[in-house]
């Protein structure tokens, strides 16, 4: 019964994607028409979009994430300093439109090099990347929806049947537990339909080593879990994937990180997004739970520690001022970090045997999470 229910949801998702794609293409076309008609009426074309300056990034209590405020910036071809970025942005919109129409995908680096075929020059890739972020702001759409992906990839493993939608693979199905190293979360997986699963939870884990340990120890079957390796700070494609798994399959998301301030923040970004993507939605899983390693677990489980550096302590103070860290476990654990001035890694559990983290720590923390 559960399986059937999820299948219906995933069909809904399929429609969503198509609808979404039409919407995005429409936005791009509108942008083109606006510029075209400005030029036709002898006006230097101008576009407005939300400012991404630090002063315009505000915390929204309702959605519990950073969003952009009401300030806008304009970019106009009449300004000598704007005309080149304006051209780059127009080209990028055109290029993204081509990608979507031809069902091709592109990496950030590909975009940078592709520009050269059109006499649109960038100083370097970071300039190209920044124009991509501008276009995201202009049409309020993540670059991944425009088929533009970063190089960074993370992995997924577990009992989930997917059906590809990318050209040449449409209709092909795959079970994501067929390969023990996991599958890269790339453009094809991100856009695939979810068909069927027996999983009851998602466990996102910060490190490749622990991801492999979890697969070996059959966490996916013992706990009916889909395991995701975020490979450090989760890339957007992975956050989007977590969001979809949570929303479409209605599965709870649990996060395991190293016991340090950076680990805590990896979990926070999955829960409430990053300031850098304040112009985007649909990348957060507000219900996701951070299992650990908490600072308080270090003493509780007698874990071997590493002293915190000056930089670590500075980061703790920074996060203490962040509105997302003012309550609950987030706030409490920062205080403990500040007090013990020590941190530990997930591998620290190996001191008590390789399977301790799976046999003892994971079930205890899952139990604890229920009450959070």
């Amino acid at each position: 019964m559960a399986k059937l229910k999820k299948q219906i949801k995933s069909n809904k998702h399929k429609n969503d994607l198509k609808e979404n794609k039409i919407q995005i293409k429409l936005k791009l076309k509108e942008l083109g028409e606006k510029i075209y008609s400005d030029l036709n009426s002898q006006k230097f074309p101008t576009i407005h979009f939300p400012s991404r300056s630090v002063r315009n990034i505000v915390y929204d209590k309702q959605t519990k994430q950073y969003i952009l405020g009401s300030n806008t910036v304009s970019r106009t071809a009449s300004n000598i300093k704007h005309i080149r970025p304006f051209t780059q942005l127009t080209w990028l919109a055109f290029f993204a439109n081509e990608l979507m129409s031809n069902k091709k995908s592109s990496t950030l680096r590909d975009v940078y090099y592709s520009s050269q075929a059109f006499a649109v020059d960038y100083d370097d890739q970071s300039q190209s990347d920044s124009i991509i972020t501008d276009l995201e702001s202009v049409i309020s759409t993540a670059r991944e929806r425009l088929n533009i992906y970063p190089e960074e990839r993370s992995a997924i493993f577990g009992d989930l049947d997917i059906e590809y939608t990318v050209p040449g693979y449409e209709g092909n199905r795959l079970n994501l537990s067929s390969h023990p190293d996991g599958y890269l979360i790339g453009p094809s997986l991100s856009t695939a339909d979810f068909v069927d699963t027996s999983a009851e939870m998602i466990i996102a884990i910060e490190k490749g080593g622990l991801f492999n340990r979890f697969v070996e120890e059959k966490v996916h079957s013992k706990y009916k879990a889909i395991i995701i390796d975020t490979a450090g700070q989760a890339p957007r494609a992975t956050r989007y994937m977590l969001k979809r798994l949570n929303k479409e399959l209605n599965l709870p998301v649990y996060i395991m990180t190293d016991g340090d301030v950076y680990g805590e923040h990896i979990a926070m970004v999955i829960v409430s997004g990053s300031a850098g993507a304040a112009h985007l939605r649909d990348l957060t899983v507000p219900s996701a739970k951070w299992l650990g390693i908490w600072a308080s677990d270090i003493a509780k489980y007698k874990l071997p520690t590493i002293p915190m550096t000056e930089m670590d302590l500075k980061r703790v103070s920074e996060l203490k001022r962040d509105p997302r860290y003012q309550k609950g476990v987030w706030n409490k654990e920062l205080d403990v970090f500040m007090k013990i001035k020590a941190k530990c890694e997930l591998e620290a559990f190996s001191k008590y045997g390789l399977t301790t983290i799976v046999d003892k720590y994971l079930p205890e923390k899952l139990e604890q999470a229920k009450s959070m």
């Binding site: 510029i35 075209y36 036709n40 002898q42 051209t87 127009t90 055109f94």
Partner: protein
């Protein structure tokens, strides 16, 4: 007084210089080779210029070795030829074989003060190789006199070993062939700098230099304008010293102090002289030879203090002038922009001087901040740049106030400073850098400022032109691209009609400029 005299006569001038050759720039084989070359070339240039002849100078430096790879220092044959007026055959042995001591009384601007440098080179060659010097000279082009001579150091006299008369080829001039111990490996960089920097201020000369490796460096003539010939002048009272006065009184036939002053000093008339002796508390009718040692001291002191002497005039100076300086800059530096600032004549301690500054920017001028070429009486100064007052001025104005003159970092900038005077205030006997006389510093500052102001104007004009060009290029490139992408993005069949607005925009840009 007679005691002093005895001390001097106990040692001949030649011997004095022999013992003190370090002072004259012959301290080691490398420096000696450079100094000898430079002294002979400067004698040639001076000779040509004083007769208003466009100089053709040929210099060859040939190692005379038994084994090809004989190490430095080794013997060199230095040959310097010019097309100058030649030297009267009766004077030629003295000109090169005797060190003149104190004979020069009248002042005029020349590269060398006493014509001593050439003789020093001969002396050095003789000391190091024991070989005589060979001089060819012709004053009429019909006959060439060839002297083989050496210097009798103890008696300060030329000894002519051989004298020949050869048929001339129609042109006048002098050739010196000199054997000396040198080190061209170590001297090479300075020698080449010397020729390059000389060429910069002598564009009216045609100079060929064949170096020790057999490479030819040719600096062709680019202008036929010679600098104005400098006139001889008497010394100005402000700049005269005790020793000079002592000797003048010893030699003069003037019977009164007033006549002595009027006949032997620059811009002193009878009235001025009378007024001066009142000021000095000396009787103007007294006979100079009656003056005591103390009287001479009193008189010279008063000459320095008395401020009603007329200032020196500058007829005795021979500045390069705008045309020559510009021709030199264009020839050797090929800049994008050049300007020249010439200050009116001024004086320090009774010596008239003129400061000229040339500035070259961009083009073939090397990047790297500022390159300074210093000259004094047209001699390039190659050593001790940091101690020179010209460098201090350039540092203050160009380096420390770079922003005020809008000079970019690492600018392709060269400055030429030329100070000409009847007496250059060299700080040391090495004659390599100028002492910081406040009058000279002030004039250098004014000249460099004037040149820098013109540079600033040039740079700001250039940058506004470049800004317009950049705008033009940017709009001509990007607006059509925006039109094209917007056409494709909106799915239209034809380009938007953007050409009229682009044309209007570019026309307005031209108008603003």
């Amino acid at each position: 007084m007679s005691k002093t005299k005895t001390t001097f006569s106990g040692i001949s001038p030649s011997e004095f210089f022999y013992r003190n050759r370090d002072l004259a720039g012959f301290s080691n084989p490398a420096k000696a080779l450079y100094t000898a070359t430079r002294e002979l070339v400067e004698n040639s240039l001076d000779a040509c210029e004083s007769s208003q002849i466009l100089p053709n100078i040929y210099v060859r430096m040939t190692p005379i070795v038994e084994h090809l790879h004989e190490s430095e220092p080794r013997t060199y044959l230095l040959k310097v030829s010019d097309n100058g007026p030649g030297i009267d055959p009766s004077q030629a042995p003295n000109a090169f074989g005797r060190v003149f001591y104190g004979s020069k009384y009248k002042l005029r601007q020349a590269r060398g003060m006493f014509g001593m440098g050439g003789t020093m080179a001969v002396l050095y060659g003789q000391i190091t190789t024991s070989k005589p010097v060979i001089i060819h000279t012709s004053i009429d082009g019909k006959k060439f006199y060839k002297f083989t001579l050496r210097i009798d150091i103890q008696n300060n006299e030329p000894v002519v070993i051989n004298k020949e008369i050869i048929d001339g080829n129609g042109s006048t001039g002098t050739t010196v062939e000199l054997l000396l111990t040198g080190d061209s490996f170590r001297a090479s960089a300075k020698v080449h700098d010397y020729f390059l920097e000389s060429a910069l201020v002598t564009p009216y000369a045609d100079i060929t230099f064949l170096d020790a490796q057999g490479k030819i460096f040719y600096y062709p003539r680019s202008t036929k304008t010679l600098p104005k010939r400098s006139e001889e002048t008497q010394p100005h009272p402000h700049g005269f010293d005790f020793e000079g006065m002592r000797r003048l009184i010893h030699e003069t036939d003037d019977k009164t102090l007033r006549k002595l002053l009027v006949n032997n000093f620059h811009r002193v008339g009878p009235t001025t002289a009378v007024n001066f002796f009142k000021f000095a508390n000396l009787e103007y009718n007294s006979n100079p030879s009656d003056l005591s040692y103390e009287d001479i001291v009193t008189m010279v002191d008063a000459m320095h203090k008395y401020d009603s002497f007329l200032p020196p005039d500058s007829h005795c100076l021979s500045p390069l002038g705008r045309e020559i300086l510009n021709a030199g800059i264009m020839n050797e530096l090929s800049p994008e922009f050049s300007t020249i600032a010439i200050r009116p004549p001024s004086a320090y301690s009774g010596f008239p001087f003129i400061v000229e500054v040339g500035l070259a920017y961009g083009g073939k001028v090397a990047h790297g901040g500022v390159k300074l070429y210093r000259y004094a009486n047209r001699i390039p100064l190659l050593y001790d740049e940091g101690s020179d007052i010209a460098w201090q001025v350039v540092k203050d104005l160009v380096i420390d106030k770079k922003k005020a003159y809008k000079i970019p970092d690492n600018a392709p900038l060269a400055l030429i400073t030329h100070v000409c005077s009847t007496k250059i205030p060299f700080k040391t006997a090495g004659k390599e850098f100028l002492a910081d006389r406040p009058e000279i510093e002030r004039e250098l500052k004014n000249a460099v400022r004037e040149a820098l102001r013109k540079l600033r104007l040039h740079l700001s004009r250039k940058s506004s032109q470049e800004a317009v060009k950049r705008r033009r290029d940017i709009y001509s490139k990007y607006l059509p691209l925006i039109a094209e992408f917007s056409k494709d993005l909106s799915g239209k069949k034809t380009l938007p009609n953007f050409q009229p607005m682009l044309k209007t925009y570019l026309d307005e840009l031209e108008g603003d400029n």
